[in-house]
C-alpha cells in the first residue's frame, strides 16, 4: 500500500496537540504552543497535569445528594452540620453553585441540575434529573426550595415547572429576585432589565 507509506500515522506530539484542542478557547495554534511548552520546557508540569487529569477522571463524580462534583459519595457541603437543611437552592451548574457560595449569604443546601429545560434542543425534565430533585426535596427536612436558575427563557421555564411540581407536593418554592444590579446606575442599565425592575417593583 503506497498511500500508507506517504501518510505517516499520528505521532505522540500530534495526538497531544489534537487532545489539547478539547479545551475551551484552544484552537490549533494555541494547542501546538501548549504541547511544545509541555514537552520542551516543563516536563515535570506535564507529568503532574497527566496525573491530575487521570486521578480526577477516575475519582471525581457527582454527589448523590446535590449533583455537585465530589470524590466522596456525598459531598462535604451536603454532610456539613452547619448548613441549614430546611433550605434547598436549585442552580443550573456547579459554577452557579460556586457563585452563590461566594456571596456568603446563603447557608442552606443545594441541588445542581447540570442543565436546564430546553425544549427546542430536546432537553426534557429527565435529562436534568427533575425526578431526583423532587425526591430530594421531599426528604421531610426541606421547607423551602429556592429556584436560582438563570433569567433566560429556558431558566424561567425550568423554574416555573419545578415550582408547579413542588406546589403539587406541598413544598414551598421561591424564585431569586432580579433587577438593577448593585451599584447600578439607571442610565447604564439595559432597557429590558429596567423594564422588569419596574414591573416587579415593590412597596416601600
Amino acid at each position: 500500500m503506497a498511500a500508507k507509506d506517504t501518510v505517516p500515522s499520528a505521532t505522540g506530539l500530534e495526538r497531544l496537540v489534537e487532545a489539547l484542542r478539547v479545551l475551551p478557547g484552544v484552537g490549533p495554534r494555541s494547542a501546538q504552543r501548549m504541547a511544545y511548552h509541555l514537552l520542551q520546557r516543563d516536563r515535570g508540569g506535564a507529568g503532574q497535569l497527566a496525573q491530575a487529569l487521570a486521578s480526577a477522571l477516575a475519582g471525581v463524580h457527582h454527589c448523590t445528594r446535590c449533583n455537585n462534583f465530589t470524590e466522596e459519595e456525598v459531598c462535604a457541603l451536603c454532610r456539613s452540620p452547619r448548613r441549614d437543611p430546611s433550605l434547598l437552592c436549585v442552580v443550573e451548574t456547579p459554577a452557579d453553585l460556586a457563585m452563590v457560595e461566594q456571596t456568603l449569604s446563603y447557608s442552606g443546601m443545594y441541588f445542581v441540575l447540570l442543565g436546564r429545560l430546553s425544549p427546542l434542543d430536546g432537553v426534557g425534565p429527565r435529562d436534568i434529573g427533575l425526578d431526583r430533585l423532587l425526591a430530594r426535596a421531599a426528604d421531610g427536612q426541606v421547607e423551602e426550595v429556592i429556584l436560582a436558575t438563570n433569567f433566560t427563557n429556558e431558566g424561567e421555564a425550568t423554574a416555573h415547572y419545578i415550582a408547579e411540581m413542588l406546589r403539587a407536593r406541598g413544598i414551598r418554592a421561591s424564585r431569586i429576585a432580579r433587577g438593577v444590579p448593585l451599584g447600578g446606575e439607571l442610565e447604564y442599565v439595559d432597557a429590558g432589565t429596567l423594564s422588569q425592575a419596574l414591573i416587579e417593583r415593590r412597596a416601600l
Binding site: 425544549p119 427546542l120 426534557g124 427563557n153 421555564a157 439595559d190 432597557a191 429590558g192 432589565t193
Partner: protein
C-alpha cells in the same frame, strides 16, 4: 465599504446556538426578510451587551451585514413595550418557535405571518385568550402562510355548506368530506369545523377535536419528525 445590508429590521429571536468560543448563531424571524440566520460575534462573552437582548419572545430591531447564507449581526436593540412570557406561556412560545424553525423556509418574507406571531405572543403574555385558542389560530395561519390554506366551511366534494350535526373526514389536500363511517384524528364534527372557521374554541369538544386535527395536519408537513416541545411537555405532565 462595510455597509449594513439591513438596518433596524423588526424581528424576534427564535433560537440561538453556540458558535465558536464566544459567538452565537441566531435564528431570527424578521418581518421583511422572514427567517434568517445571523452570527452574533462575541455574544457569549460575560459582559456582552447582547446578552440580555438576544432572547426569544421580545421584539427587537436587528441590523446585519453581508449576504449569502450567513450574515453578521451588527446591532440588536430591545423594542420593549410587549410584556414577557412567563410560566406555561413560555412553553407555548417555544412551541410556536419550533413550528417556525421546522416549517418556515429561510429567506422567505411572511409579513402577515409575522404579524400573527406578534399577536400570538402578546396574547400569550397577557392571557387575553386561552392558550389552546392562541395555538390553534397560529397553527392555521402558519399552514395558510406556507400555502396549505385550510377550508372549514364547505364540503370539498360537493361545495355544500358544512352541517353542524354532520361528521366529516378532513382530506389534507382537499378539505372536509362526509366521513361515511371513517375514523381517526382527521374525523371531526361539522360543529367543530364551523367553530374553527370562526376561531371559536370555547366548546370542549371543539378544543379536543381541533387539537387532534391540527396535530395530524402539521404532522404531515413535518414528514414524520416529532416536535421536541411536545415531547418535553408530555414528559413534564407525567411527572
Amino acid at each position: 465599504m462595510n455597509r449594513p445590508r439591513a438596518e433596524h429590521e423588526p424581528g424576534y429571536v427564535l433560537h440561538t446556538y453556540p458558535y465558536r468560543e464566544t459567538s452565537l448563531i441566531v435564528e431570527a424571524f424578521t418581518r421583511r426578510h422572514g427567517r434568517t440566520a445571523l452570527i452574533a460575534k462575541g455574544a457569549r462573552r460575560p459582559r456582552s451587551a447582547l446578552r440580555g437582548v438576544l432572547l426569544s419572545f421580545q421584539p427587537l430591531r436587528l441590523s446585519w451585514s453581508g449576504g449569502g447564507e450567513m450574515r453578521i449581526l451588527v446591532g440588536a436593540d430591545w423594542q420593549g413595550a410587549a410584556s414577557l412570557l412567563r410560566g406555561a406561556g413560555l412553553m407555548c412560545g417555544f412551541y410556536l418557535n419550533e413550528l417556525l424553525l421546522r416549517l418556515l423556509p429561510r429567506e422567505d418574507a411572511h409579513e402577515a405571518l409575522y404579524d400573527d406571531y406578534c399577536e400570538g405572543l402578546s396574547r400569550l403574555a397577557q392571557g387575553s385568550l386561552p392558550t389552546s385558542t392562541v395555538l390553534r389560530m397560529f397553527e392555521r395561519r402558519l399552514l395558510a402562510g406556507l400555502g396549505y390554506a385550510l377550508q372549514f366551511d364547505r364540503d370539498a366534494a360537493d361545495g355544500a355548506p358544512i352541517r353542524p350535526e354532520g361528521s366529516y373526514l378532513y382530506e389534507p389536500e382537499r378539505g372536509p368530506v362526509a366521513a361515511n363511517g371513517a375514523g381517526g384524528e382527521m374525523v371531526v364534527s361539522g360543529r367543530t369545523l364551523l367553530d374553527m372557521q370562526a376561531d371559536d374554541y370555547r366548546r370542549p369538544e371543539t378544543q379536543a377535536e381541533s387539537r387532534a386535527l391540527m396535530r395530524a395536519l402539521i404532522g404531515l408537513r413535518l414528514h414524520g419528525q416529532t416536535l421536541h416541545t411536545r415531547a418535553v411537555l408530555l414528559e413534564l405532565q407525567e411527572m
